[in-house]
Symmetry: C2
Subunit: 243 residues, 2 copies
Amino acid sequence: MLIDSEATALAAVLRPVRAGNAFEETVERLLQVIKLRVVDHGERLPPERELAPLLGVSRVTLREAIRVLQQEGYVESRRGRNGGTFVTYKPPRPRKGDLARVAARHGDALNDALIYRHAVETGAAQHLATVELSPDQESQLLEALAAVNTASIAEYRRLDIRFHLTIAELTGSPLLASACADARLRVTDLLNAIPVLQPNIEHAAVQHAAVVDAILASDPQAAHQAMAEHLEGTAALLRGFLG
Amino acid sequence: MLIDSEATALAAVLRPVRAGNAFEETVERLLQVIKLRVVDHGERLPPERELAPLLGVSRVTLREAIRVLQQEGYVESRRGRNGGTFVTYKPPRPRKGDLARVAARHGDALNDALIYRHAVETGAAQHLATVELSPDQESQLLEALAAVNTASIAEYRRLDIRFHLTIAELTGSPLLASACADARLRVTDLLNAIPVLQPNIEHAAVQHAAVVDAILASDPQAAHQAMAEHLEGTAALLRGFLG
DNA sequence: CGTAAACGGTCTAATGTCAGACCATTAACG
DNA sequence: CGTTAATGGTCTGACATTAGACCGTTTACG
């Protein structure tokens, strides 16, 4: 029998070295690409010969994963010179009760994900406010902001994700960027289950602008604060639809 | 050719689904357990039949990993009823130049890890200040603090790690706890390469106390601030030995 | 003092995963 | 209008990994 504090410390380190087998993880990852709309409806995934090494799996394993997505109707493959694997998935218009179902499926994972997301995304915003941005990086950030703030309802989520991931990537810390991507996609299913409303967009736009302002003003505390408020808005929205 | 913002977003999601093969990752993880001194010199690892499922690998793979650690002199296995695999590794007294060598081996990863660690650990401290702690949890936290603050130089690192991981675990977010563990072990090699000095311990003790005070006072901002100052102290220490 | 329990150590057969070669289809391009 | 390049589709042989049974050693305990 271990004493408590040892058990606590062990739990954090003696966890599985891998989440599942290569095939399952590849399906998961591709689903994330599609649901985060990094590759949107009608667009093409990278060719298998490029994608497999990017994901660190063999082409055989990648193809098995793609076959599942074909059967589930997420993608379609075409042969030939301008062929490829194309995304056919469109996020369905959310219906009442969707969120409750999805939330039930997630269980405790929701709170876990929201806490995690808060930590890594506020951390990213704060850090970005402490680094000197090149003109190119500044314009990337401003473009992402402009895009999300002028988005149609249909494009909103996609561009919102891109905005958040841009901040994460610009920190220059791959670990932190991955963590932000991971955190975001853990709440994506839930967000996809609630409708995008114009007032929410407008509210978020103000907050997005505040985050960018603080970053460009090199004010880490303000950036942290602004991102925290923004994320709490989203979390409250989710909890509101749940309650 | 992809436009820039797409490439940015893709990079965060289209990364390898696994870091290496099961065997390599198992060796890595066990080294972490040993170097973080979760299982210290003379102590026993869990039996193979328990450890393998915890790490999510087969016993064969686990044993291959253990065999490497035996050859490298980190552990020793004994058969029989009170047998097991025992840690023989003692952190060597750091020598001048160690840090430079280790840092060179890490390269950019050092900055990456420090940024990541700052984000997740300040996030954990801040979050913990927002939750209602049970008496049992409070005493766990206070015990961890007392332990690290009265530690001998030899025991200091081990108890410092336990203190930080206790905060992470108490957040109740497994994702955040894993992230903190991950972040910590990415700087462990570097920290092990610099000596533990009494003034550093005393300085850190004040900061640790400030973190715990803020958490128990349910002051998230102060907790964030206190942890940030503590981590910056460590980061500065590392950079100082490097410069 | 013998027996059973708790370990590490070994083996096997099945399955997962890989790299790489090769096939089939389509469209761009000379 | 043929050739070639870029894609998805298929196959093979090698290696990694697994679950599970079984062996050998030591010690606690009846």
